[in-house]
Every structure is written in structure tokens, then in C-alpha cells.
């Protein structure tokens, strides 16, 4: 039975999305990450059963992505400094189905660990050829591909001698309000993992590994750029719809 026929039969029955286990969800209050202390709510969250509002969501992207938005090395007159990389992967839902034609937005520091952002005061050089902002849509199989340079680590004053591991921020919509995800992609083997409270706010080790890209020789372009693979999994759906009153 296909989903549309099921929905047509039940009228406004709603098939919700599965909730992730606690080990995969960082807590709001995580005192080692100091900024959570005044921003985390102190009251427990209220469980919200999924309604049409939560299982629908913005399907954005067409017309929002320019021709060079996926290539962060070609957005200025010259080439940015740093180690050229390709970041590619597939966006899937929790049932292994590709999420096609969905918008990805990325942003990152330059090779020296500095963001092209007025708030960033790290005394590392800005790169006039690197803004560090990209966008793309997944294809029909949920695949995406960015070209960039490997971002540097940077200090962030959270605690004595605090450094963030190198990372690229990812923002995704999926196809439902509940699938919205903002996360960070890390690089394999980073020695800063053990010292980073943001990375460790995800308490389950297997869940943390899902934020780490894999080096992928098959995506590496000889004489040109190293390849990394980063698949992203959005929440999957409940098996059965919420019953509707007759």
C-alpha cells in the first residue's frame, strides 16, 4: 500500500516521526559548554504529539542556489589558500530512503581557522579569496557534493586553552518540520575531539561517530583534491499513523 492511498483513506491521519534516543541528542544544559548555562531552559520540555504542522515543512531550494554556490574555492577572483577538499555524501532518512532535492547550507572557517565574520576576533589571517559559505540541493538520489578547503582549528575561550576541532557547519531541512537539522561535520582522527565539549555533548560514542566524515580515496581527485564522505541521516517515520477519531 502506498503512503498517499493510506492518507487518502484516513483523511487527516498523520504519520509521525520517530524520536531519537537520549544518547544521540545533546542536552540543552551541558555545563562544560559554558554558553549553555544561561541559554538552556530549566523546565522539562513538553512532549508534542506530531500533527500536520510537524510532519509538513518548507520544501525550499529551487531558485536559491547559484551555479557556483557548491564550490567554495571559486567564489572570488583568486583561489583560497589551504588544502583543497571534496565533501560528498548522501542525505537519507532513518529508513534508508534518499532525501532528494533538499537544500543544504554550509559554512566554515578558512584554512587558518578564521571565519569571514565580524564577530570572529581570532588573530589568524583572513583570506580575501574565501568566504566559507556554500549551498546546494541534493539530486534525485539524495546525493550532494561540495568543493572547499579544509578548515583550520580555532581557539574559542570556553575554558583554558580551548580549541574547536576543525569542522564544517551543515544545515538541512528534509521534508518535515521535525526533520530540520543543524549539525557539524568533523574530520577523522582529530586530536582535539577529546578536549571539545561541543563534540562530547553527544554522549553516545556511536552517535558521535556519525558526525565524523570518512576519508574516501575513491572521491579524491588525483593531483587536485582529497575526498571526504559524509552521509547525513534525518529522522525516519513511525510505522503507523496516529489514529484519527471517527
Amino acid at each position: 500500500m502506498t503512503e498517499p492511498s493510506l492518507q487518502a483513506r484516513r483523511g487527516l491521519a498523520v504519520r509521525g516521526y520517530r524520536r531519537e534516543d537520549e544518547g544521540s541528542r545533546p542536552p540543552y544544559l551541558y555545563p562544560d559548554y559554558q554558553a549553555t548555562r544561561l541559554r538552556a531552559p530549566r523546565r522539562p520540555l513538553t512532549l508534542l504529539p506530531h500533527t500536520l504542522t510537524e510532519v509538513t515543512g518548507p520544501l525550499l531550494g529551487e531558485g536559491r542556489v547559484g551555479e557556483l554556490d557548491h564550490d567554495l574555492t571559486r567564489q572570488h577572483q583568486g583561489e583560497p589558500l589551504g588544502e583543497r577538499i571534496i565533501v560528498t555524501g548522501q542525505v537519507l532518512d532513518g529508513d534508508g530512503r534518499p532525501v532528494p532535492h533538499t537544500l543544504l547550507e554550509v559554512w566554515q572557517a578558512n584554512a587558518a581557522g578564521r571565519y569571514a565574520h565580524h564577530v570572529d576576533q581570532h588573530p589568524a589571517p583572513l583570506d580575501p579569496n574565501f568566504t566559507g559559505v556554500g549551498r546546494c540541493l541534493t539530486d534525485a538520489e539524495g546525493r550532494y557534493r561540495f568543493v572547499s578547503i579544509r578548515p583550520g582549528a580555532y581557539p574559542w575561550k570556553n575554558h583554558q586553552n580551548a580549541w574547536r576541532p576543525a569542522h564544517i557547519h551543515f544545515s538541512l531541512f528534509g521534508r518535515a518540520f521535525v526533520q530540520r537539522l543543524i549539525t557539524q561535520m568533523y574530520f577523522p582522527g582529530d586530536p582535539l575531539f577529546d578536549h571539545d565539549p561541543i563534540f562530547h555533548s553527544v554522549r553516545d560514542a556511536a552517535a558521535r561517530r556519525r558526525m565524523v566524515a570518512g576519508f574516501d580515496l575513491s572521491e579524491t581527485v588525483p593531483e587536485w583534491a582529497l575526498g571526504y564522505r559524509f552521509d547525513i541521516v534525518l529522522r525516519g517515520r513511525d510505522a503507523t499513523p496516529t489514529e484519527e477519531a471517527p
Binding site: 492518507q7 545533546p26 509538513t56 559554512w107 518540520f177
Partner: protein, 184 residues
């Protein structure tokens, strides 16, 4: 079945990447009946949060979503339903939109008009989700299953108050008047 990629904070350095020029305009300026939904985001010390990003998702005035999973068909005129606005130096945000209509609840009742709201910020390892209801809809609010399940003080934090050009909805991340946030 595979587990989802975990959330991480949006951090402090997104304002050159995520805001769109048309982000706050769920409907174009000049749209008949459009209202400004405005507010301030405050932290546990009562200080404005100048580096948050707010996103909204809502039905059109007929209570329909621009989405194929809304089994009742599309919205009139492709209503985008989505808004995105960063807070300014004083923690303020605003979106221009149309007040949504009532949306069916799974149990057969109808939900009161509401806007789903996400808050992203440095210091939030995952987004916070709340709902904006409208204080000038007392009958619909009284019949809303989500509001009905909340104690009165928690319910009160979800009501946007009418203003001269729309509605005001402040988000208090923490403290006495803490906004009611949902686990979705």
C-alpha cells in the same frame, strides 16, 4: 533503520551564511492582511540574545500547508509558510506573515491558529521548538488540544499579544517566565 545524525550548535558565526534577504518575508511587503510577528529573545539573566536565528513554519489563512503531505491539497497561491530571521544587537526579530487558519488535530479536533517556531543559537546544542498562538483567539485557544494539556502559566507563555502592526511574541530561554518548549 538507521539512527539520525546528531544536532550541534549553530555557533556564533552563521550570520553571513544563513540569513536570506527575503527570509523575514513569509509574504511580500504590501500583501493585504499581512501582520508583523515581532519579539525579543532573552537569556536566563534577562539579557537580549543578539546571535540567535529564528525560523517559522505555518499554515496559510485557510489552515493548509504548502506540502504534499497535507492531504487536503495545496495552499492558495503557493504560500511559502516559512520565515527566517536572525536577532539584532538588541535580541529582536520580526517576520511579515499572514495569520494562519485552524489546522486539524490527529484526534479529529481542530487546533487553534499557531506558528511553529525554532530557535537556534550559540549555547543551544539543539534547536528549541515552541509554538506561537494568538491571544485574540480565545475560543479557538480554549479548544486547542496542545494548549489544553498545559497548566495556565505555561499556556500564557505561548500567546502572542496584538500590537499596532501585528503581534508580539518574546522568547525567554530560561527563568521565571521561561517559554514553554516542546520535545518534538
Amino acid at each position: 533503520m538507521s539512527a539520525a545524525t546528531p544536532s550541534q550548535t549553530v555557533g556564533p558565526f552563521f550570520s553571513h551564511a544563513l540569513p536570506w534577504p527575503d527570509g523575514p518575508y513569509v509574504v511580500p511587503a504590501g500583501t493585504q492582511g499581512a501582520v508583523w510577528l515581532r519579539g525579543t529573545v532573552l537569556d536566563g539573566a534577562g539579557e537580549p540574545v543578539p546571535d540567535a536565528l529564528l525560523e517559522t513554519w505555518q499554515a496559510d489563512p485557510g489552515g493548509r500547508f504548502d506540502h504534499p503531505d497535507d492531504p487536503r491539497g495545496g495552499t492558495a497561491g503557493g504560500f511559502r509558510g516559512f520565515g527566517r530571521c536572525p536577532t539584532d544587537a538588541d535580541g529582536r526579530w520580526a517576520i511579515l506573515t499572514l495569520k494562519p487558519g485552524r489546522v486539524p488535530a490527529p484526534d479529529g479536533r481542530r487546533q487553534a491558529p499557531h506558528v511553529a517556531l525554532s530557535v537556534f543559537a550559540r549555547g543551544l546544542l539543539d534547536r528549541l521548538v515552541t509554538r506561537v498562538y494568538f491571544a485574540d483567539e480565545p475560543d479557538a485557544n480554549a479548544a486547542d488540544p496542545v494548549l489544553a494539556a498545559l497548566p495556565a502559566p505555561a499556556r500564557a507563555t505561548l500567546l502572542a499579544r496584538p500590537t499596532s502592526d501585528g503581534y508580539r511574541f518574546d522568547v525567554r530561554l530560561q527563568g521565571e517566565q521561561e517559554t514553554t518548549f516542546f520535545d518534538i
